[in-house]
């Protein structure tokens, strides 16, 4: 029983881990092309083993045949899926991020056509010669087209790279801008608070001045009343004649005093009034400033926020562009692979031309496809490195493109 368990575990863990890998890496193509047939193979092997263990030889043979069939089906499916994936990738890339280019459409269409033609090739052996010719001409055409596409891609890669570069500096600037805006907003807020305090002080001083004025008014009233009193005394004194003379002197001096206090009160009043006016003006101005500053701060904060958002969006953009870049590089790799594969195909076709016989070619073709897939895997890593260097990729492409041309 533990054996069955082991098989089941093997059968489940392998695809599961593959799926997990897929999820982590996001690279569906690997899953679809490599892991899916492998897991199929795994399942088939485990079914074979299980039937051998439990059902004897006959069932083993049956199940082996079944497994082989499954593997073959898996391989065919994998290949189809891989092609479709690349198709969709390239298509989505062109439609989503870059301006539509008729070449690309044609290119994609061509691939589809290629695919169908290859299938046709498999079925129609009698047309092989004709096909070979066709293929040969088609491959040259493909070569030409691919090399043009590669060239365009490289150019696009340049542009995108430049965009990416420019974008990153924009992002940097935006970040700085947001930081600065935040700083300004902070200091504006602080100054608003400060002005607020200042304003309160001004108000306080106005209040003080007002109370001074009211006191002064009291003094003024008092001096007014004293003045009246003194005047009345003067009148009485004047009427008393000679006897009132001394009294009149006192009265008039009181009057003078009250006059003086009236004057000084008036002066203090004037000063206080002007003080009040000044303070009030200051208060008014700072009161006006505070909301101004506050709105400025608000606006600046808004700016900061917008900049931040912009920054985020730019980052997203940048990420997308980077993603695009990788995708393009992948694509480039793929195109290179395709290019290679086509070359191989060309070679194969040439060899067919010289050898004849379809069956081996079909088998070879299948094998080569299979291998080319794995090669493609290995090569993609290489080209990835190569892609980072413009010069190199350019050379490689030119080399690649020139080599079949030369032949």
């Amino acid at each position: 029983m533990d054996k069955i368990l082991a098989i089941l575990i093997f059968a489940t863990v392998f695809p599961l881990s593959a799926t997990i890998y897929r999820l982590i890496s996001g690279r569906t193509i690997v899953y679809q092309i490599v892991i899916f047939p492998l897991s199929m193979l795994g399942i088939g092997v485990s079914v074979m083993y299980a039937s051998y263990v439990y059902s004897g030889m006959l069932s083993f043979i049956i199940s082996t045949i079944l497994a082989v069939i499954l593997i073959i089906i898996g391989l065919i499916l994998a290949r189809r899926l891989a092609i479709r994936y690349i198709n969709s990738q390239v298509k989505s890339m062109w439609t989503s991020d870059l301006s539509k280019q008729s070449g690309t459409e044609e290119f994609i269409d061509f691939f589809i056509e290629l695919d169908s033609r290859t299938a046709k090739l498999k079925r129609k052996e009698e047309d092989t010669a004709k096909l070979r010719k066709d293929i040969s001409s088609m491959t040259t055409e493909i070569e030409q087209k691919i090399s043009g596409a590669v060239e365009r891609f490289t150019q696009q890669g340049h542009v995108i790279h430049n965009i990416l570069r420019a974008n990153s500096s924009i992002i940097r600037l935006l970040k700085e801008n947001a930081e600065n805006a935040e700083d300004i907003a902070g200091s504006a807020k602080r100054s608003a608070v400060k002005i607020d305090v200042n304003n309160k002080n001004v108000q306080k001083s106005v209040l003080t001045l007002r109370s001074i004025i009211s006191k002064i008014k009291f003094i003024d009233d008092l001096s007014f009343q004293t003045n009246i009193l003194a005047l009345n005394a003067s009148i009485e004194a004047a009427k008393a004649g000679q006897n009132g003379k001394e009294f009149a002197v006192v009265a008039s001096s009181i009057q003078k005093l009250s006059e003086k206090s009236k004057k000084s009160a008036a002066e203090i009043d004037k000063i206080s009034q002007s003080g009040i006016q000044l303070s009030e003006r200051t208060g008014r101005i700072s009161a006006q400033i505070v909301p101004d500053i506050k709105t400025t701060a608000k606006q600046i904060t808004k700016i900061a926020e917008t900049t931040k958002k912009q920054h985020q969006e730019a980052e997203i953009l940048s990420y997308t562009i980077a993603h695009l870049e990788t995708e393009i590089s992948h694509f480039t790799e793929t195109t290179q692979d395709i290019n290679r594969m086509i070359q191989e195909l060309t070679d194969l076709v040439r060899s067919y031309e010289t050898q004849g016989g379809l069956k081996t070619s079909f088998k070879d073709d299948n094998e080569s496809e299979f291998y080319s897939d794995s090669d493609f895997e290995a090569n993609s890593n290489l080209s990835n490195v190569a892609f980072s260097d413009d010069e190199f990729t350019d050379n490689e492409f030119t080399d690649d493109s020139t080599s079949p041309k030369n032949e």
Partner: protein, 174 residues
Amino acid sequence: MAQNENTQNTYLTFRLGTEIFAASIDKAVSIIEVPEIIKVPRSPSYMKGIINVRGTVMPVIDARMKFGMKPIEIKKRTVIVTFRVDIEGENVDVGALVDEPGAVIQIKKEQIMNRPDIGSKYKSELIVGAFTHNEQFIMLVDIDKVFTLDELTEINDSKEEHSLEEHIEAESHK
């Protein structure tokens, strides 16, 4: 008092508008702050009303209107000068609203000039003389007349007020 003050007379000054007037101290009784003035209906406009002065009812006139000026506005400095005037041989206490009280001053008789020639600017029959005191031109008023020439004023009030006002206005613009 008459003997030793032959050469000097005492006056009480007060301001009406921009002019300073003086009245004989013998006629003045006191200066009071402006209390509530009760308007007596159907009385001439210069009769401001009556006031309660320590339990007695005293009529109050607008001194400015009496001199043909604009009606007085009661402000902080406005006071009532109460006079004891002779109306038909009877001593009557009356109040006059003035813009500001002045001072009690002594003027030598020879300092007093004859009635100034001020034309129709102020009711000249109320002014009996003028003098200069502390570089200020002061007009001497016959208080009895101020309060008794009511019929005259009443008639003139309606007829002349406007033109007088304009006149004063014109004067002040100069």
